[in-house]
């Protein structure tokens, strides 16, 4: 069953057009594509360019499950997908979804991985299960329940469960969307390893040019339902203008090298970029980053300890003695690995939880002394998953919910102003759940703005956004400073930390291990590793080139270059 025709390419598509039932236009508009066996192909392109639909033709979900109008042929390892069933094709193609958590259907990890081989009645199912778990390093999780796993572990289990059928091709839809970059990197390492060891063809749908540059061998750019081109990765990244036009900005290192050494080959990794820039003098002084004048305290935590009960009955300590003052005018980034206590700290600040010992005060009020609802006009917490914030059936109603319930005069005008600010006035009557990722995030920001809190807490506001929407959200956060006294962002996104934050709190093992600024954080590799963080590319490039403190953005790196050295030197060192 497995294997197909060994001589045929992994995927061969000719003249493919597809329209979803009831849709007004074709989603795929004439695709001709050939993916060779053993390739690692990245499929890139803007939202709505047909990337996911294209990949769902590989395993026959289109047209067997989504039965629209289908023209042309798709051959996977020589098998025509129209003549084979989805079940048969799943032996050739494994598919890991963007929302991979929903693809796990069984309670335990071992059961999940063995589910497909057992369903197909394969006698070597136990062997395949062990092999797949071994390949991805999740064998030690075999008896855990899938809901106990972290996001990264769930992704590996989802991958293991498709590998148990020993497919020739693995499709992974946007691994970076729901995982932080460090974990996504681990997924990419695992995929590269599979490709090297088993010769598995890997197809990834990816927004981040940085990952494409590092791991892919060839790149398919999709636009309007068809490939624009399919090129080897370096040639693909050379076409930066075209990529920019399709909403895929070049990796930071490529931007830097292009600006400083025009005509040099595009670098794929940080060391490559460092070699390319070796001859360029970059001794210019770092721009001054004046610390904001210390404002008055908005929230104070003193000797805070907290922990959670487990299913087994034990108490897991999460925070072990936090002393902290958040002041007005501050933009605080809260960073640290999973389980470091970021979310718990945010929940304590909302008053939904009270600490087991110590005190949390928000604008002088002890959170123990009042109900969470009494604090809600001073603290607003925006969850990581926007759909959990959509309680009403339109964006407008969701934004109006709080001010209306509290009898704020002129609620309608307030809501209109907020909608204008988040640029969703045109979509105000849509259900929040039906918006795109970036729009959803802006809608939740609108909910926060309408509360007009002193303290705004955001949990991973840029996760699962493509680069353009991410930049839009960061710009919006920048603009909030006038209405909100203090903003705290819990995040893994070091790009956000670099471009937005003024103060960084590093949590590790339930303690604040560093209270610093972004440049100092990135310059401390020990601290970064301990907290499981990966600096942005341009920071790593700066460190590799010996720049101290490292530049936080490409513009800043260029500012230290030959042309502007004199002007910058006048600003003096920090």
């Amino acid at each position: 069953m497995s294997g197909g025709d060994p001589g045929a390419p992994a995927v061969e598509i000719q003249g493919l057009r597809f329209r979803y039932p009831g849709a007004g236009a074709d989603t795929l508009t004439g695709v001709d594509l050939r993916v060779e066996r053993g390739d690692i192909t990245a499929v890139i392109g803007g939202n709505g360019s047909g990337k996911t639909t294209l990949c769902k033709t590989f395993n026959g979900l289109v047209p067997h499950y989504w039965s629209g109008s289908f023209e042309g042929t798709v051959r996977v390892c020589g098998t025509d997908t129209r003549t084979a069933s989805v079940a048969a094709l799943s032996h050739l193609v494994g598919y890991v979804y963007q929302d991979f958590g929903n693809q796990l259907v069984r309670p335990t990890v071992r059961d999940e991985v063995s589910f497909a081989p057992v369903n197909f009645g394969l006698d070597d199912h136990a062997e395949r299960t062990e092999e797949a778990m071994e390949l991805l390093g999740v064998a030690h999780l075999a008896d855990r329940f899938t809901w106990q796993l972290s996001g990264g572990q769930q992704h590996l289990v989802a991958l293991a469960s498709v590998l148990a059928l020993r497919p020739e091709v693995v499709v992974v839809d946007e691994p970076v969307a729901e995982l932080d970059p460090a974990r996504a990197e681990r997924i990419y390492e695992a995929l590269t390893d599979l490709n090297a060891r088993l010769g598995t063809t890997v197809v990834v749908i990816e927004h981040h040019a940085e990952f494409v540059a590092r791991y892919a061998r060839s790149v398919v750019l999709m636009a309007d339902g068809a490939p624009v081109w399919h090129l080897p990765v370096r040639e693909a990244l050379e076409r930066h203008d075209e990529l920019d036009r399709h909403g895929i900005p070049a990796p930071q290192i490529a931007q830097a090298v292009r600006a400083l050494v025009p005509g040099a080959p595009v670098p794929l990794t940080v060391p490559e970029a460092a070699r390319a820039l070796a001859g360029t003098p970059l001794g210019g002084a770092a721009p001054a980053r004046p610390a904001p004048p210390p404002g008055e305290a908005v929230a104070e935590l003193a000797g805070v300890h907290h922990g959670y009960r487990e299913v087994g009955g034990g108490l897991t300590p999460v925070l072990r003695g936090i002393d902290l003052t958040l002041r007005s005018g501050e933009r605080v980034a809260l960073v640290g690995g999973n389980g470091a206590g970021k979310s718990t700290l945010l929940r304590l600040l909302t008053g939904l939880k009270v600490p087991r010992s110590g005190t949390v005060r928000v604008e002088g009020t002890d959170t123990r002394a009042v109900r969470p609802a009494d604090l809600a006009d001073r603290v607003c917490h925006l969850y990581q998953r926007p759909e959990q914030m959509f309680l009403k059936d339109s964006v407008r109603e969701d934004i109006a919910m709080f001010p209306r319930a509290r009898g704020v005069p002129d609620t309608d005008r307030l809501v209109d102003t907020v909608l204008e600010r988040i640029r969703l006035a045109g979509l105000a009557d849509r259900d929040g759940r039906l918006l795109s990722g970036g729009q959803q995030r802006r809608a939740t920001l609108g909910i926060g703005l309408a509360v007009r809190p002193a303290l705004l807490l955001l949990d991973e506001p840029t996760s699962s956004l493509d680069t353009a929407s991410r930049d839009a959200v960061i710009a919006m956060l920048d603009a909030l400073a006038d209405t909100i006294r203090c903003t705290v962002v819990a995040t893994h996104d070091m790009h956000l930390v670099a471009t937005w934050a003024q103060r960084v709190l590093v949590l590790d093992g339930g303690r604040v291990v560093a209270d610093t600024d972004p440049a100092a954080l990135f310059a401390d590799p020990g601290l970064m590793a301990a907290a499981g963080l990966v600096p942005p590319q341009v920071v790593r490039l700066g460190l590799e080139l010996g720049l101290e403190p490292p530049p936080l953005s490409v513009a800043e790196l260029l500012g230290r270059g030959p042309a502007t050295t004199g002007r910058r030197a006048a600003d003096g060192r920090r």
Partner: protein, 284 residues
């Protein structure tokens, strides 16, 4: 507000809190406490349960019913049923008994009415105890395999295990949405007589929270259904090989047989006792 700040002093509680209820449900669903029935073959556990689900309805004798009740109560203790489920049961049982007394007093009933109602209560209580003991001992895998082994439709067996898989996720999501309502809806009014306003508020919040929960769940299941298709779920429904492999690990040992034997003996003993000391005393 000043008055409220003087009187209010919230603490993190480990029992009788929402977190505790969530943990207790998980402990019950996933059989984390172990116990007498947890290590037995799930088919025999279901068989054991069926005995106590059926037998109480075959008699009117209060001696027999009391005996069965005591056997099930012992099973509940040995199966380490958690305090939440047990507490709910006791609460319901006490309330029901109180209702019995009041009903027979007010509606002019005599001892006969009380006995008839007591009989029904005792039967329901016995079945409830047996359900607790059995289902607290079956984790989702075991329950779904047992159902499959007993030729329940594949969809039912899978649905059970998928329900368990989603339980923690949905509980977490529901809690988050309810918290959202607590913070963003109108501030809580004064509690009123017996806290009736608070009760109404909690009730409306819980109902309103279902709307986002259902929509979010519907969105999730699209991926799940596609994934099931690729994992050969429908294939397995048409080809029996998968079922054979899935059930191959179910193996009864002598302890399972002993369990059923002891159960039958105990039930027989109850009936023997009932014959010796019938209650209510049969005329003639």
């Amino acid at each position: 507000m000043a008055a409220a700040e003087r009187t209010r002093d919230r603490r993190e509680r480990d029992t009788l809190s929402v977190e505790w209820v969530k943990l207790e449900l998980l402990r019950t669903a996933y059989a984390t406490r172990g116990g007498l029935l947890a290590s037995r073959d799930p088919r025999f556990v279901l068989g054991w349960y069926l005995v106590f689900a059926v037998v109480p309805w075959l008699t009117h004798d209060l001696t027999v019913l009391t005996g069965l009740f005591l056997v099930c109560a012992a099973a509940v203790v040995l199966s380490r049923v958690g305090p939440l489920i047990l507490g709910l049961f006791v609460f319901g049982f006490v309330l029901e008994s109180g209702y019995l007394l009041i009903a027979s007093w007010f509606f002019g009933g005599d001892l006969g009415t009380v006995l008839a109602l007591a009989e029904l209560t005792l039967k329901l209580a016995t079945v409830s105890l047996a359900s607790m003991a059995a289902f607290v001992s079956l984790d989702p895998e075991k329950l779904s395999d047992a159902l499959l082994a007993l030729h329940a439709p594949a969809m039912v067996a899978f649905g059970v295990s998928y329900g368990y898989r989603m339980l923690p996720v949905l509980m977490e999501e529901f809690h988050t949405v309810v918290d959202g309502y607590r913070l963003r809806a109108a501030p809580p009014p004064p509690p009123g007589f017996l806290g009736w306003r608070a009760v109404v508020r909690v009730g409306t919040t819980v109902v309103a929270a279902f709307y986002p929960l259902m929509l979010n769940t519907a969105k999730r299941t699209r991926t799940t259904v596609e994934a099931l298709e690729t994992k050969g779920f429908t294939y397995a429904a048409e080809h029996p090989a998968g079922r054979r492999i899935r059930l191959a690990h179910l193996r009864a040992d002598r302890w399972d047989v002993l369990l059923i034997a002891v159960t039958v003996l105990l039930v027989a003993a109850c009936f023997a006792l009932g014959r010796a000391h019938p209650l209510p005393v049969q005329p003639g």
